[in-house]
């Protein structure tokens, strides 16, 4: 029993990562009827941006520190301001050794912002030009972007795995009954739940979120409301990319080995998760992600680790046979 509960804890943790990635697939599909095959690679880039972020933080901190030092020297005669600047400068110069949690948070934010910006570039540069072409053209473009990001990754980061800095040393927390959860799992779960609630709030409560729903219903109707459909599409890519980046950093905190092809499998599985939940359906992506994570861990635990990746495709085949619209998807003819 405790073994099973342990598997469940691990499965839900993995599942929340799949859910974060699946949300990007499902939102972009909802709005463009496009399967963004490059989405898994955004997850990879999230991990890499996170990898380089601490260096960036330290460099920026040191630079700001130097600058403030200079300002401090000039202004040291001035009461209050002078010493204050001095202390701030010292603090910034020591940015490298700032509190682990704060640093991890900064790394997460930098990776998310970086991937969000990249999302804009990809959407505007690759997908927008083919938006009025056939779906096949869009699909081929997506595969092209994916290959570009992977091979570009090899070129820029090198083919060998890198090791993500262990910002937060791992420790285990006993949950009782022989079940333990690592602090990193707690972080993964907490951050993904927070992000999912943030997304839910944006989509259901804000002006731009309602515009997203309108665009996903009909581009024509949305533009008749005065909504700039192009802008909402870009915004959707930014949101999805940010969530994938977060997933990349969260996973790398726990499994530090990162390499340019690391997004392929999780990307595929998250895509299956989105289909499982009902593609285009936001709660469906979360549910699909959780089902996927739990199924995978159970298969590894009780059947054989060999089938770890196979289970995703078994689930895909089952759902396509039994309920092609997905668990939460409405069974309706697709309107284009």
């Amino acid at each position: 029993m405790s073994e099973f509960l342990q598997q469940l804890v691990n499965g839900v943790t993995w599942g929340s990562v799949y859910a974060l990635i699946a949300l990007g697939y499902t939102m972009v599909y909802g709005i463009l009827r496009l399967i963004n095959f490059a989405h898994g690679d955004i997850y990879m880039l999230g991990a890499f941006f996170g990898f380089y972020a601490p260096g960036l933080i330290v460099a920026a901190g040191a630079r700001a520190g130097e600058w403030l030092e200079g300002a401090h020297r000039v202004l040291h005669g001035v009461p209050v301001l002078g010493p204050g600047l001095g202390r701030l400068a010292a603090a910034l110069s020591a940015a490298g050794s700032m509190a682990d949690a704060l640093q991890a948070l900064l790394v997460l934010v930098i990776a998310m912002v970086g991937c969000g910006l990249l999302g804009i570039v990809i959407e505007r540069g690759a997908y927008k030009p083919v938006r009025r072409s056939s779906r096949l053209a869009a699909l081929i473009t997506a595969i092209g972007v994916s290959l570009l990001l992977e091979n570009g990754g090899v070129l820029v980061f090198g083919p060998d795995p890198k090791f993500f800095p262990q910002i937060i040393p791992s420790s285990n927390i006993a949950l009782g009954g022989g079940v333990t959860i690592s602090n990193q799992q707690v972080i993964i779960l907490t951050v993904s739940i927070l992000l999912m609630f943030a997304l839910r709030f944006i989509v259901t409560r804000t002006r731009v979120g309602k515009a997203m729903q309108a665009v996903s219903h009909s581009h024509m109707a949305a533009s008749l409301m005065g909504i700039s459909v192009d802008r909402i599409i870009t915004f959707t890519f930014v949101l999805g990319s940010m969530l994938a980046a977060a997933a990349g950093v969260l996973v790398a905190l726990q499994n530090p080995k990162i390499e340019p092809y690391m997004g392929v499998m999780p990307g595929l599985k998250a895509f299956v998760a989105a289909v499982l939940g009902g593609i285009g359906n936001i709660p469906g992506a979360v549910l699909g992600g959780l089902v996927m994570g739990v199924a995978e861990v159970l298969v590894v635990g009780y059947v054989s680790p060999t089938y770890r990746d196979a289970i995703a495709f078994v689930l895909l085949i089952i759902i396509l046979l039994v309920r092609p619209a997905g668990i939460l998807g409405k069974a309706q003819a697709e309107k284009v």
Binding site: R207, K210, A211, Q213, A214, H217, S218, M220, A221, A222, S223, L224, M225, G226, I227, S228, V229
Partner: protein, 235 residues
């Protein structure tokens, strides 16, 4: 003239849907556009809203050339449309649909006032304000489509067959509301199959036939026109 359309040519691939269409609407008018199925009425409204790009011709609104503006900017200038098929956001509530109609506006008090005005025009919508758009009846959806188009506070309202599929009593009610909206200062371009009703509320009318303006006259005279009687008023 509030709206001046000159020489519009619209193609869908090889289909020549509008052939040099010219049309005007003065501030405060109700102008109706009648014509058989496939005449090009919807195409004209879509072109006015920027959804379809004409190959030639110009659309001027309040003197300004809006021919190649994107749809969302045209809405911002004061032209809104209740489109053919209503296009209600089926998963969103009545309130959210109305809120989206006011998407480009930031003046909260003004939006609230306009919403109250829409509820006054269509009390049925207020009763159902939290209901999901897709579950409204056809007539209620039509009311919502018109109300939503009013939420941008347009100076020109384009209506594409507002009476389609409604019971006679409701048709009369909708037409009365269109007149009320017009009295409040909104110019209306009304596309209709129900030529009799349309011509009796409009000041002027155009008859569109396979992409060309066949007739253009005061609505009262069109009602008496033999050709119109034959073709659109059931003899």
């Amino acid at each position: 003239m509030l709206l001046e359309v000159a020489g519009l040519d619209v193609y869908y691939g090889a289909v020549h849907a509008l052939k040099g269409v010219s049309l005007n609407a003065g501030a405060g008018e109700i102008v109706t556009l009648i014509g058989a199925n496939g005449a090009g009425k919807t195409t004209l409204l879509r072109t006015l809203s920027g959804l379809v790009r004409p190959r030639a011709g110009t659309v001027r609104f309040e003197g300004r050339d809006i021919t190649r503006l994107p749809p969302h900017e045209i809405v911002g200038l004061g032209v809104s449309q209740a489109p053919e098929g209503r296009m209600i956001f089926a998963n969103l509530s009545v309130e959210d649909n109305l809120e989206l109609g006011a998407y480009r506006r930031r003046d909260r008090p003004g939006i609230a006032a306009d919403r109250a005005r829409v509820f006054q025009l269509f009390p049925r919508l207020e009763e159902r304000r939290r209901q999901i758009g897709g579950t409204l009846s056809g007539g209620e959806q039509q009311m919502l489509a018109i109300g939503r188009a009013l939420m941008s506070r347009p100076r020109l309202l384009l209506l594409d067959e507002p009476s389609l599929g409604l019971a006679p009593l409701l048709v009369r009610e909708i037409f009365k509301t269109i007149q009320e909206i017009n009295h409040a200062g909104v110019t209306v371009l009304l596309v209709e199959q129900n030529a009799h009703m349309a011509l009796s509320v409009a000041r002027r009318g155009y008859v569109l036939e396979t992409g060309t303006v066949r007739l253009e006259d005061d609505a009262a005279r069109l009602l008496q026109n033999e050709e119109v009687k034959q073709a659109y008023l059931g003899g």
